[in-house]
Structures are given as structure tokens and as C-alpha cells.
Amino acid sequence: MFSQLLVNGVTVGSIYGLTALGFAIIYRTARFFHFAHGAVYAVGAYVAYSVVLHWGWSPLVAFFLAGITAACVGVGIEVLVYDPLRRQKAPTLVFLIASFGVFVVVQNLLQLIYGAQILTIRTGPVKEGRHVLGAVITDMQVLILAASSVIGIGAWLLVQQTRLGKATRAVADDRLGASAVGINPERIIMLAFGIGSALAGVAGMLVAYETNIEPTMGMNAILKGMIASIIGGIGSIPGAMIGGLFLGIGENIGIWKISAGWKDAIAFAILIVFLLVRPSGIMGVKVRGEWL
């Protein structure tokens, strides 16, 4: 029983981790909570649905198209909404409200196009998974784990090892200082939106295969992604993945001990506990002596 919960928790957690990772990459540079990230995630799921069921292409195409479309949507939001606000030097409150508004617009656009009903990509009979150490693991779960670990490590390498990653860290540390040494912060922020949104789109696509899709799926996803990112340490790349796994496993143990209906409430309780006890999260990032 416990190993099964662990498997389920890690699978869900790695998807939370991917969403949190995208959120963290954006938060590091843009420095506000990008609520519309959840809607971008839903866009990824619906693109996968269209690609596979309407056009009959392979899941691999769906994987890339979901990422690319989500990246375009994310960059579009940045260019059309956030960048003008940044030029006006708007306070955070204005960013938050605008982001919330964008979230509602995209979510309802999806509902207008695809309808409010629950859709599913999976066709044919459900295959029984493999038995490993007393737990049942489906092929899809293995795929999700593999994909999210590769993407997670890739994102970490991108930020830690490349010149581009160095530039994003510079912008995260000190926007003015970065522009003084010839980095264009606007471009870095836009890139962060592209990469972060692509991750959300991919996470949405993977979820579409694992469970069902509906227009409001982004609401839960962004909530879990943000909570995962905070308990992992906001702005930290490995922290986002660890936070996601922690949240996924914690939720599944909670379901086992309490009841499935309380899943979201458990996640929220975990957040409140972390805010009280360790607000910097498991692997918080410090920028000049202050938690990011």
C-alpha cells in the first residue's frame, strides 16, 4: 500500500515539480506571481488533445507542439500585458490583478473553443501496469517520471552551466546591475517566460495523458505549482522539483489517512505550515542576504 502511494505521489509530484519549475524560472527574473501560468498549462493539455485526437498525429509531436504553443502564449502575455506594465513601473498589486485577469481570459477562451465538458485523450482499453516492489506502475507513469527528470536536470544545467543561464541569474540578482554589464533584462525576462511556459505546456500535456482535461484544470495546477515552488524554496530550480515531489507524496499520504476530497485542503495546510515554520522553503535562494 505504502509503496503504491509513493509511486502515485512521485508521479503527481513530478508534474507539480515541472509546473513549479516553470513558475520558478519566471519568478526569478520577473519577480511577481504569474497566475496565468496555470492557464498556459491548460493550453498545453488542449493542444495535445487536438494534435492527437483531431489530427491523429503521434504523442511525440503533441509533446513538442504543446511546449511550443505554450511558450508562444507565455511570451505573448509578457509582451502584451506585463512589459507595458513594467514600463509604467506598476506596483506588484497591479501585476497580480492583471495576471489574474489573463488567467480568466485564457481559461474561458479554452472553454468557448472546447466546451466545459471533461475530455480524455486515452483511447482503447486501460493496460495493466507492471508490478514492482508491491506497487503497480503504468507505462505512462514511467514516461512521466523519465520526461520530468530529464527536463528538470536539463533546466538546472541550462541555468547553472550556460552563458544564458548566467545572464538569467544576473537579472534575478540585480536587474540594474545586469543591464550595466550589457545584458538586456527585457530579453532575458521574455526568454524566461518562453522557457517557463514551455515547461508548463509540457506538464499539461503529460497530465492530459495521465488523467482527464477540462478548462478549469489550470486553477488547481497553478495552485499546486506555486505551493510546490514555495515549499521547495521560491526561485530555486532544484527546490521546485523537490517541492513538487514533497507535495505529491504528502498529498497521497493525506488521501490515504484522511479522504480524497481533502487533497487540496491538505496541500493548502502544508503551505500554511511552511509559511509559519520555514517561509524560505527547503532550498530557498538568498539574494544579497535576503530571501528571494
Partner: protein
């Protein structure tokens, strides 16, 4: 005529919600994205007390409002220790969670089936049932909310709130316990939202979780932003316009599967456009340097 009065009652309830959110969002600059959650708690608390224990709605209203206020402390106190974004996340989360608890805790709330047959208010043994009597009652509560909140924002206390909104560091430097002010304001906002929820429940006599979705919070948020953050007159305008306009659009006869998401999309779009072009709304003065 009945229908017209009904719309006025609903407008009044939204006015209470808008005024209280304006105190939190417009005057103090705290991002509360889940105001409907507090009215949900108020509505359920007072309805369940009335249905299960026969508690009169007057007391239920007070208990419901206090329950909402307590929930406000639980959410605001931990998240206000952090930057403003955390409060936005916590209230957003609260909106999602309160809805899911109302839907899933079937043993208590009857879940999606809702609570039917909630008793109405009674006065001196006389059951209030006519719509006009509720219009009077709600008007009374709108007036009460208005006077309390106007008293708060025009007092020295309110000046400190605006100070916090404009420059938190400066307010701290003046020796003000910024966090305490924020928590008080947040709790007052939650309290009035609880009152509004309870009024709604006893007026309609039926509640279910779908009346308190995230979309409700967005509607209230838009009413505040549209009317003007930091303008009490704006709250009246915002609530009136955004209750009456969709009612007029109802006569266009669109199928509800299109009308509902379209309306919500327009609301979201309005929020974004207002933030970009006129963040102070139509009557507000809120403008940053």
C-alpha cells in the same frame, strides 16, 4: 416588479462585498483574490446553524461573520509575514479550497446538492418573506457597511492604511506596526463578506457551492477595480453596473454554454485593460508615481 426588486437586493449584497473588498484592496493595497470564500463560509455557517440547531438568522449572521473573520486571521497572519504576492496566493488558494470543501464534505454541507429550505429572517415573531422587506434589510446593512468603512478610511487609522499602500517602508519607519494594521483590515473585510454571504443565504433560502466559485471572487474584484480602488462611491457604481449589465444582456438570448464563459472572458479582459490603461477605475484616485 418583483424581479426588479430582486435585482436591487442582489445589488445591495454585492455592494457590501465590494465595499469590504475595497477597504482591503483599494485602501490598503492587499491583494485579496478570494473574497467569495469568506462569504461562502459566512453563508454556510449561518445556514447550517439555522437548519441543524434552529439558531435564529440574526445570531447566525453574526456567528457566520465571525467565522469568516477567524478564517481571515488564519490565512492572513502567516502569509502577511511575507511579500504581498504570498497573500494573493493564499487567498487564491483559499478560494479554491473553500469551494472544494463545500463540494466534498457531503456529510456536513450536502455537497453539490446544496442546502435547501434555509429559514428567512424574522422580526418580532413576524417572518420576513416579501422581497421588499429584504430590500429594506439589505439597504440597512449596506448603510451600516458604508458608515463603518467610511469611518475607518477617513480616520487617522485610514490615513495609515493609505500610507501602507503607498509606501510600506515609510509607514514602518514612522513606527507603525504595519502587519497589525494589515491583519485588522483583512479581518474587517472578511467579517463583512461573511455578513453578505449570510444575507444571501437567508434571502435566497438555498445555497450550493456553485454560488461561491473563483468566478465570484473575480466578479467582486472587478467591481472594485472598475468603480475605482480607494473610492467608496466607486464601489457603489461598480457593483450596480456589473450586476445590472449582465441582467440586460440576458435578454439577448444567447445559449448559456456560450454566455457564461463569454461573460467571464469579458470580465477578465476588462481587468487586464483597466490595469493597463486606467488602474484607478472610473472614480478612484489610486495612482502610483
Amino acid at each position: 416588479m418583483e424581479y426588479f426588486l430582486h435585482i436591487l437586493v442582489i445589488t445591495g449584497i454585492y455592494m457590501i462585498l465590494t465595499l469590504s473588498l475595497n477597504l482591503v484592496l483599494g485602501y490598503t493595497g492587499l491583494a485579496n483574490l478570494g473574497h467569495a470564500a469568506f462569504s461562502c463560509v459566512g453563508a454556510y455557517a449561518s445556514s447550517l446553524l439555522a437548519l441543524n440547531y434552529g439558531v435564529p438568522p440574526w445570531i447566525g449572521l453574526l456567528v457566520g461573520a465571525c467565522t469568516a473573520a477567524v478564517l481571515g486571521v488564519v490565512v492572513a497572519a502567516p502569509s502577511l509575514r511575507m511579500k504581498g504576492d504570498y497573500l494573493a496566493l493564499a487567498t487564491f488558494g483559499l478560494g479554491v479550497i473553500v469551494y472544494s470543501v463545500a463540494k466534498n464534505w457531503v456529510g456536513l454541507t450536502r455537497g453539490p446538492m446544496g442546502l435547501p429550505g434555509i429559514p428567512g429572517f424574522s422580526l418580532f415573531g413576524l417572518q420576513l418573506s416579501a422581497v421588499w422587506s429584504y430590500l429594506l434589510l439589505v439597504t440597512l446593512f449596506v448603510a451600516l457597511t458604508f458608515f463603518v468603512i467610511r469611518r475607518v478610511v477617513t480616520s487617522p487609522f485610514g490615513r495609515i492604511l493609505r500610507g501602507i499602500r503607498e509606501d510600506e517602508t515609510a509607514a514602518l519607519a514612522m513606527g507603525k506596526n504595519v502587519n497589525r494594521y494589515k491583519i485588522i483590515v483583512f479581518v474587517v473585510g472578511a467579517f463583512f463578506a461573511g455578513i453578505a454571504g449570510s444575507l444571501y443565504a437567508h434571502y435566497i433560502t438555498f445555497i450550493d457551492p456553485s454560488s461561491f466559485t473563483l468566478m465570484e471572487s473575480i466578479t467582486i474584484l472587478l467591481m472594485v477595480v472598475f468603480g475605482g480602488m480607494g473610492s467608496l462611491a466607486g464601489s457603489f457604481v461598480g457593483a450596480s453596473v456589473l450586476v445590472i449589465l449582465p441582467e440586460l444582456l440576458r435578454f439577448l438570448g444567447m445559449p448559456s454554454s456560450v454566455a457564461a464563459p463569454l461573460r467571464q472572458m469579458i470580465y477578465g479582459l476588462l481587468l487586464v485593460i483597466l490595469m493597463l490603461a486606467r488602474p484607478q477605475g472610473i472614480l478612484g484616485k489610486y495612482r502610483w508615481q
